[in-house]
């Protein structure tokens, strides 16, 4: 039986440029620029979160997860945003047991999102999916 904490959030697989472009008033160039920055910056944010979880300092976990949530929420409501929020709450409450599985899930979700964003960067908005 699969542990629910390690199961990928379905939303992470459903990222499309449509919602993001809608929020950015159809500005494809801006969306691609943000995607490029995120793909570059998220591994460092993930490293910071991983280090915080390893150290076991709950407030560091909360801060690192909060920063990652703020960054990834520009692209997607659920998936990694939800998972980062879950880790932020774990940090806030000081309950860090079992968070390694949640971190694994977050890494997979971010990897999937990153792949989608790289494709978007290279191809731009697919025809008919801007809105």
């Amino acid at each position: 039986m699969t542990d629910s904490s390690s199961r990928p959030n379905r939303d992470s697989l459903e990222w499309t440029p449509a919602r993001m472009l809608s929020r950015l008033d159809g500005d494809v160039e801006l969306a691609q620029q943000l995607a490029a920055i995120f793909v570059d910056e998220y591994p460092r944010m993930l490293d910071r979160l991983r280090a915080a979880l390893t150290s076991g300092v709950a407030d560091d976990v909360r801060r690192a997860a909060h920063a990652l949530k703020g960054s990834v929420s520009n692209f997607i409501d659920g998936g990694p945003t939800t998972t980062a929020f879950e880790l932020e709450n774990r940090g806030r409450s000081g309950q860090l047991e079992g968070t390694s599985a949640v971190l694994d899930r977050l890494e997979r979700e971010l990897a999937a999102l990153s792949t989608s964003l790289r494709q978007f960067q290279s191809k731009g908005a697919p025809p008919g999916r801007e809105s």
Partner: protein, 326 residues
């Protein structure tokens, strides 16, 4: 009435996440603003001091010094306290919002920020800041005018500044609040701004005024009040300008108010105005010592022109060195 002319706004974006800064920078620049960025709280404070932004966007969570502390410091500095601050929080972070309100934040935005909401908030707060700046400029012009009037009479050199200091000291001794102390400080400079309407021949006359000349001189509080009336920011100063020559026994001018009809702040400025006039040299008389001037004020209080309590408090503030030396 004064209106703010349209101009580009300078906006500070403080967030430790590069993608968030980039998004804000891009959106705000496309809306015609100049944008400064800071990646942590200390850099944000440096940028505020150096660049004097019109609007500040602060992420709550930042390394070193968080956005709440930056906001608190910005709002406690008289030079920056009127700069609008937008705190950027997570959608679910109610406690951050409450702490942001306590820190003095003016507005809030939730992440992920909707571009249109960001633009509208910043435009709106920029307009507010430009109006504040325009009012500040108008008030600065008024103070310059008051100092110019003072400069017409060399014997009153420094009177406005001393009056402001004395009035604030007495206000503190009477446990007045910050708003009243601020009004006393500004009123110290502006109380005689209406003398712009008094000819030099009367203002500088080295001797007693004729009844007609005195009647003209007595118009200066009303002239000053009319000058200050269009400025909403001077609403607490106007009673000082209008009533600082009123006396509790009804013998003052321009309205002959008595007792509690005389506004408290005007009573305070009235006392320190008389003291400073008496201790300054005039072409037609030598300056009194602080002790002599203090005795004069006590006699005026005994005759009902000033509050005895206020005069005693004022003389106490001067301290032994000033009141007893001579």
């Amino acid at each position: 009435m004064i209106e703010a002319l349209p101009r580009r706004s300078r906006v500070l974006v403080a967030d430790d996440t590069e993608s968030v800064r980039s998004l804000f920078e891009r959106l705000l620049r496309s809306d015609g603003h100049d944008v400064i960025s800071a990646a942590d709280g200390h850099a944000a404070l440096d940028a505020i001091q150096r660049d004097r932004p019109d609007v500040v966007l602060l992420d709550v969570e930042m390394p070193g010094m968080d956005g709440l502390e930056v906001c608190r410091r910005l709002k406690s500095d008289p030079a920056t306290r009127l700069t609008p601050v937008v705190m950027v929080t997570g959608q679910t972070d109610l406690s951050d919002r409450i702490r942001g309100i306590e820190a003095g934040a003016d507005e809030f935005l939730s992440k992920p920020v909707h571009p249109q909401e960001l633009r509208v908030r910043v435009r709106s707060l920029s307009r507010v800041k430009h109006l504040i700046d325009a009012l500040d400029s108008a008030e600065a012009a008024f103070v310059a005018l008051a100092l110019t009037i003072e400069a017409r009479d060399p014997s009153t050199n420094g009177h406005c500044e001393r009056l402001a200091q004395h009035a604030v000291r007495l206000g503190r001794a009477l446990s007045l609040g910050d708003d009243d102390l601020d009004a006393l400080h500004r009123g110290g400079y502006l109380h005689d701004v209406g003398k712009i309407g008094v000819p030099d021949a009367i203002l500088l006359k080295p001797g007693p005024l004729t009844p007609d000349e005195f009647a003209l001189m007595k118009r200066h509080p009303q002239i000053g009040d009319s000058l200050c009336a269009p400025l909403q920011s001077l609403r607490r100063v106007r009673p000082i300008v209008m009533c600082h020559h009123e006396r509790l026994d009804g013998s003052g001018y321009p309205s002959g108010l008595s007792g509690s009809e005389v506004p408290l702040l005007a009573q305070i400025v009235g006392i320190v105005d008389v003291f400073d006039a008496l201790t300054s040299e005039r072409p037609y008389r030598v300056a009194l010592t602080p002790r002599e001037a203090g005795r004069y004020l006590e006699r005026q209080a005994q005759s009902g022109k000033f509050s005895q309590h206020h005069v005693e408090a004022f003389l106490d503030t001067l301290g032994a060195a000033e009141t007893l030396a001579s």
